[in-house]
Amino acid sequence: MKQADEMSKDREIAFLGRMTAGISHELMNVLAIIRERSGLIEDLMALDKKAELPYRDKLDVTLKSIREQVGRGIAVGEILNGLAHSMDESRARLVVDDLLGRIVFLMHRFARLERIEIKVVATEQPLTVNTDPFRILLVLAACIEYCMDRTEAGGEIALQGMPAQEGTILRCFVCRGACHVESAETILDLRDRLRDPIERLRARINLLNADNQVGLELFLPQSTA
């Protein structure tokens, strides 16, 4: 019964992924047209730079802005696309720093509203994990939210991956500003909320209070790491 429920949930997630991938594809097509159209205006303006053109300076500034905003849109589209494709399959090998970069990008807006910054501390050696690409994002997002709720405005949260004996550790900790972790009770609540994805990842989640780092630590065992 549990297996049937899991399969049904996987199908629902895969459906959501397909729809999101379709939307991001359309978004990229729109951006591609805007890029080419504005590029064409730039090309035409550059054909004769000496020709008198009213408001040339303002046009240059506007076109530069369009170029930058298209670039920003493409970056958003890439993340949306990555999120969509994270739902394609229940297991994939992921580069840890890319995974952490993706979740930082996704959570950046929510953190900014709380005036908190999030960053990735790059791993010293290239590190990969073989895991469920969607559920790991779900768990990492919850870890970031947990730390955000306990961080004062102006603070900063860091994510860092590191190899461990028989697995990989992903840390989410407050690296600037105070972190108010009150009791083990709070993590019981978090564990309860994340029961399903944690079980599917076969992961463990613990409070982190070591190496001057306060936050959460997610352990992915070797079979999934």
């Binding site: 991001s24 047209i33 080419e36 590029g39 064409l40 054909l47 298209v70 990555g82 494709h85």
Partner: protein
């Protein structure tokens, strides 16, 4: 053949016609097609050395069109346009004989660089 002539194929007609205009400004002879079937007809009649082909098109898709082009016109070099989440299509296409793939939205200078490389490669191929 001394001058680069390129066939651009994409069902997003506004994208492909604007891109074609930009290439023409740079002195590159360009033909456009909005679907795979029309692209194959143009390859037959115009024999362009380089084809830039969108992977995701209704009807005859980019990979199917690629198969036909490489079977009937092995000298023609094909550059695939893929989505950001579809690099596997690009890799598959290269295994099927595509010269290279590039992700949409494209940077025009990067595309021109690849088109020039593909053009050189088309000259190396024996007829």
């Amino acid at each position: 053949m001394t001058q680069l002539k390129v066939l651009l194929v994409d069902d997003e007609d506004e994208f492909v016609t604007t891109l074609a205009e930009r290439l023409q400004i740079r002195g590159i002879e360009t033909i456009v097609a909005f679907d795979g079937e029309r692209a194959l007809q143009i390859v037959e009649t115009e024999d362009p050395p380089v084809v830039v082909l969108d992977v995701m098109m209704p009807g005859l898709g980019g990979l199917d069109a690629l198969k036909h082009i490489k079977r009937d016109h092995p000298r023609t070099q094909v550059i695939l346009l893929t989505g950001h989440g579809s690099t596997s299509d690009g890799i598959r296409g290269m295994r099927m004989g595509a010269f290279d793939y590039i992700m949409k939205p494209v940077q025009i200078e990067e595309l021109i660089g690849k088109m020039n490389e593909a053009f050189e490669a088309s000259k190396q191929e024996t007829p």
